[in-house]
């Protein structure tokens, strides 16, 4: 009798411990990282016993982690590639995409630059090295300093796919390894042109109209701005309803979730 009692106490204790140690592993894109971070912060305040870790190293790493079963949610700023999908299915993992927000890749220049709009082709020619001076696009005579994100970033991939359309970047293009650094370089360099997510645009740089459309919440959410991309969270299968993973991947649909997405400078999918 006594032993059973002790056994039951022990069992409930271990169960409690197991429940307490509920974990949520999130890994992937540096672009989606801020969204995952603020969601995780909010979840921690609502479910104090939940153990959330957010890793932000790149979309490719997120996909790899999901394929290996090392994370519950892979955050990605691009859709999964063919090969990643095949590898996942080969491992018995069935990736399901949840679009959590929209992101526009905004082209920015130094605030002193009189150029206010460029076409997508002009931007491509700048990064391909065909346009080397601002006077070729109606600006003052001043060499263009094109600044790109590093080739391992999701922002680069989106830009390359949607703007460069298979043209190679010129040898003179500079590479920086984060959105804030791209912003800092453009802010301090008169001839610079760079591209960052909408969340990193502020008044210290000038955002260019592309093909006549200024990137904004409306133009990006509706997809009229030419360089717009959805941001994803991938899970293995559709998460069990009511599970923590399910709550996390659908959190962007709640009013609080949309508020947090917007606070980070991204565009929520729905208007509330």
């Amino acid at each position: 009798m006594k032993t059973t009692l002790i056994g039951m106490v022990l069992l409930s204790l271990t169960l409690g411990a197991v429940r307490q140690a509920e974990t949520l592993q999130i890994e992937g894109s540096t672009t989606v990282g801020p969204i995952a971070d603020t969601f995780a912060e909010y979840f921690k305040s609502v479910y104090p016993s939940l153990d959330i870790t957010v890793k932000k190293t790149g979309s490719g790493d997120g996909a790899a982690a999901l394929i290996d079963g090392r994370c519950d949610v892979a955050t990605m700023s691009r859709f999964m590639k063919d090969k990643e999908f095949k590898d996942a299915v080969g491992n018995g993992i069935y990736p399901v995409a949840h679009v959590v927000a929209m992101d526009g890749v905004c082209v920015i220049v130094h605030p002193s630059n009189p150029v206010k709009a460029l076409t997508k082709d002009q931007i491509r020619d700048i990064y391909a090295g065909k346009i080397k001076n601002w006077n070729q696009v109606g600006g003052p005579s001043m060499p263009v300093v094109p600044i790109s994100r590093d080739t391992s970033s999701g922002t680069y991939e989106t830009f390359e796919k949607l703007v460069m359309s298979k043209q190679a970047m010129a040898p003179g293009v500079e590479y920086v390894n984060s959105n804030p650094q791209a912003h800092a370089r453009v802010k301090t360099t008169r001839g610079a042109i760079g591209y960052v997510g909408l969340g990193f645009v502020d008044t210290s740089v000038r955002v260019l109209k592309m093909d006549g459309i200024l990137p904004s919440r409306q133009t990006i959410a509706s997809g009229t701005y030419p360089v717009t991309r959805p941001l994803f969270m991938f899970t293995n299968g559709y998460p069990k309803l009511g599970s923590m993973v399910h709550k996390f991947c659908t959190f962007h649909l709640t009013e609080k979730g949309q508020e947090l997405v917007e606070a980070k400078g991204f565009v929520p999918l729905t208007n509330y």
Partner: protein
């Protein structure tokens, strides 16, 4: 074993008076085992660091084999086009090799004169007390994390150079070289100062006694005598510069180009280390791109190993020269 016991006995007869002079077989065996096991354990621990180096070498070479066997190595070393993610990828690493050597040599141009003069100042000019204050401070430079240097390069040095010199871009070879020079300084000063001050008083006094001035003594006697150590210091500084990643990744601009004209330090360049760090994240496992990055790593290892051998050679010579005098 027995020797040890007797030695202890003579030193502390009272404390060890109860210890038998002849060990039992059990004690003998355990003593033997303890000595040899201890030796073996220490040997294994020492070997593990050697093994780590070897494993890294083997791993990097192993991962690069796929690329080195399938791609034309001559083209890899001499082609200028590095387009790893293009439709038909091109892996010409010449630009990266030139970039690495370019900033490292430029850094040395700044760091060597300053470093050697500082070393002479610390060893031969200033008082011992002041030297003992300055040298640790110089060595603190080596303890600053490279990412902190990188931030300084991007946020302070780059805008300043654009404003002051009118460069179109502030993250360029000059920026990276200046920061690398500062980072290589502690190594150069420390090693050069050690070898100069290790020469001893006799040499200098002998020179003075022959009527040489302080300047003559330093330039004609001390410097030639310490040249091995100074060369080693320079090579070690070069190694520091060529292997540095974070600073060049942030400060050099990472443009895949060889400066035209060659002396134009205001142009952006890209180094081997920055390329590996920047592209490894998204190069898919098993792809030619990833293997090519490992091949760049092998190249870098070969370079630093070569420099290491050179510095070892000169350090040994410096030690030998000291032994003779």
């Amino acid at each position: 074993m027995n020797d040890d016991t007797s030695l202890t006995l003579t030193l502390e007869p009272a404390a060890d008076a109860h210890r038998p002079l002849v060990l039992t077989p059990g004690q003998d065996l355990s003593g033997f085992l303890a000595a040899h096991l201890g030796r073996a354990a220490l040997f294994v621990i020492t070997c593990s660091s050697v093994l780590a180096v070897l494993l890294i070498l083997v791993f990097v070479i192993y991962r690069s084999v796929a690329f080195l066997t399938s791609y034309n190595i001559v083209e890899f070393l001499t082609d200028k086009a590095w387009y790893p993610t293009a439709e038909s990828p091109n892996f010409g690493a010449l630009t990266l090799i030139v970039g690495s050597l370019y900033v490292s040599v430029a850094a040395l141009v700044f760091a060597v004169p300053v470093g050697i003069l500082a070393a002479i100042f610390l060893s031969d000019v200033v008082s011992w007390k002041v030297r003992n204050v300055i040298k640790p401070i110089v060595e603190i430079l080596a303890a600053i994390p490279s990412v902190a240097y990188g931030f300084f390069a991007v946020l302070v040095l780059a805008p300043w150079m654009q404003k002051t010199f009118g460069f179109t871009t502030g993250t360029n070879a000059l920026n990276a070289a200046l920061i690398l020079a500062v980072m290589a300084l502690p190594t150069i000063i420390s090693v050069a100062e050690d070898s100069i001050s290790a020469l001893g008083r006799e040499l200098r006094e002998a020179s003075y006694s022959l009527g040489a001035t302080r300047m003559e003594t330093t330039l004609r006697v001390v410097m030639p005598a310490a040249h091995s150590g100074i060369i080693a210091a320079v090579v070690l500084g070069m190694m520091r510069a060529i292997g540095e990643t974070m600073v060049v990744w942030m400060a050099s601009g990472n443009a895949t180009q060889i400066p035209q004209p060659w002396w134009d330090l205001s142009l952006s360049i890209r180094t081997m280390t920055a390329t590996i760090a920047g592209e490894m994240g998204e190069a898919p496992e098993g792809s030619a791109h990833r293997s090519a990055l490992f091949a760049v790593g092998v190249l870098l290892l070969v370079m630093t190993f070569g420099l290491n051998i050179v510095s070892e050679y000169f350090l040994t010579r410096a030690k030998k020269a000291l032994g003779k005098s």
